[in-house]
Amino acid sequence: MQIIESPKVYDAIIVGSGAGGGMAAKVLSEAGLNIAVVEAGPFFDPADPKTRTQLRWPYESPRRGANSVRDFGDFDMAYGGWDIKGEPYTTTEGTEFMWFRSRMLGGRTNHWGRISLRFGPDDFHRKDFDGLGDNWPITYEEIKPYYDKLDKLIGVFGSKEQLHNDPDGFFLPPPKPRLHDLYYIKAARKLGITVIPSRLSILTKRINDDRGVCFYCGQCSRSCFAYADFSSGSCLIFPAQKAGGQIDLFTNCMVSKVTVDAEGKATGVAYINKEDRRLYELKGKVVVLAASACSTARILLNSKSSQHPNGLGNSSNVVGKYLHDSTGASRMAFIPALMNRKLYNEDGVGGMHVYSPWWLDNKKLDFARGYHIEIWGGLGMPSYGFGMGNTTIQEFLGEEVGGYGNQLRKDVKRFYGAILGFGGRGECIAREDNYCELDPEQVDEYGIPVLRFNYSFSDQERNQARHMHQTFEEIFDTLDAHVFGDTPTREQNYGLNKPGEIIHEVGTTRMGNDPRSSVCNKYQQLHDVDNVFIADAGPFVSQADKNCTWTIMALSMRTSEYIVEQLKKQNI
């Protein structure tokens, strides 16, 4: 097979079009660079009626939105999921990992929860507090200007709260709490749990003329056709194109490796076009990897050459290591006080209206790091599964369980909107022995070695999950609620979600000042190869009890500005 080379030499080639890649595309193209964006999935525009799922009804789907085709249901805007045909991954014996991939322009930003939290000042040097993991080589003060710019560029609602480790930003005003939120606020306050308006990148107010304003359908997971929520295509890539940016989009193109010259410097990337299944090469002065933490590690590890025998940027042997995902545990309950509700449209924004940032001091606890609580509930649109919990509720209420006939209609109406659910999302300690590597035996259908994961939890995470469930139960008790399911036991890891399941995987190409213990420097430039940068969550040293997207974008913006500066100075 012949490699098809493009004669064009790009100023920069960006691999991946999600949060990090989209931001790099915007910043680099606005600086006048000629760039290529290479995405493994198809083109996607939330405004395209052919692919739109927003405002569709459950009965438009023959399976009523069940998750037999898309992992989060028919209307969720993610092409790909936990398992992609022809592109498997494996785990070492006795360990688990779940890897969610969205193969589409914009990647996972098309369906994500829009929870847009800055890391706080403490989050960049946690080791100083508890001796675990490592400190970042950067501080909050260095990143703050980028978070500020990001807030204004993308739009995020929230409120100024003057909380030390949950810094305020340039917020749009938050939506008013819904009924279940008010119940939560009351209960949380009684227990001394902080509760504030949530911080989501959804436009409750206009920020420019290219994007619409939220019309409260509660469906951000379906990707907004009015561009009122953040997704990388609608908010970064399309505006950059519209502004005249020189951006060539290569979709359905799966990058296999970074190519290098005799001196070991990057010359571009090799990719397989999924449509004709042929191998191509693109030439670029700079390569920005933003394929997601694990995909980027995979590309680096697969880019072995005589110049880089251990994989590109891997002289430290750290690529793939320190992989960590947020911890997660969830619970839901039936709230009798919310029975027999008067009905009105309370779809709200696509996500929570209020939340609890971490409120405790770990010195008094048997685990090191914090978590936040996400809240859900309300008069949502029915989809597959609706009504299936009713017998459990009848049991809670001491009523006759089961039945048939029009009594069932009454129950459906009595119970509708009376469920409250919590998700705890916390920080997992980054460890060298949690990693991904190339599987020595398997390749995917494009001939690229697949990833093999090795991940286990420690008591830090287990005890945190136990605390989450204790907290959830205390809140539910305050509300005289009936909690679904039993308190998870130690054998059940206290209800921890599986590694990877929260879809916040970070840390595989961590940054640091010492090239022996980190993959890239504080500008996310490979220590080993100065014209290769990483703009996804790989460079994270630690996760924080925050979602990672806002920090991915702030850091990608900073890295991209650094690239422009270095190119101008002809340093790379």
């Binding site: 052919k50 037999s68 100024k160 917020f171 119940y183 206009r206 009105y344 449209n345 779809d347 006939g405």
Partner: protein, 232 residues
Amino acid sequence: MNRRETIKTLLIGSLASGAVISGCKAPETVIVKEEEATGYGRTPEEQEVDRKLMTEEFLNATELATIATLCDIILPASPTAGSAVEAGVPEFIAFIVKDIPRHQLVVRGGLMWLDSEAISRFNKDFNTCTEEERLAIVDDIAYPKNARPEMEYGARFFSTMRNLVLTGYYTSKMGIEDLGYVGNQPNVWDGVPKEVLEKHGLAYEEEWLAKCVDQSQRNTTAEWDEEGNLLT
């Protein structure tokens, strides 16, 4: 699809809507110029999955006839809404057992259990029983906590059927109307209605409300001072 054209249409749509919006009942019109869009936003691969499932047959006509009978026992017509059969629930069940194969054995085996029970009691299939005879069996399996030991498998089947009928019905157009869900349309959320707050003995705090969006200013472009205080 021309992307710019879509955006333009969207902008006109949202700009044309009134700048003065109060209460949560004033919907904002978002106009989307929709070219003939097929399906419900499927990729070509997903369309193929649906097409294949649609052409396959799992439940046969006899089984579906019994399912239809059960559907209308579980959710008959009410004075204000149609029955499960009228809402198309048998068609949904015919599809979902193909889509989620773990239902297949439960449903097929359960139908056989039901016929066996009817034959042993009345010497005929469930579906050819009189209404009274059918209900005699259903009463024995519709309340899982009280089911006699010999009725346990039937009770499990009936619980599955109840779940499928409830889900199928309340995700249908008719069911959603019967439920009274009024969302899935453009709206301006401006808080819980006053009478609902009163009923629940709740109130918004002034301090919290002061942070929240003023919906009359939602179309005014945001501007901040250097400290991040919203000016507009």
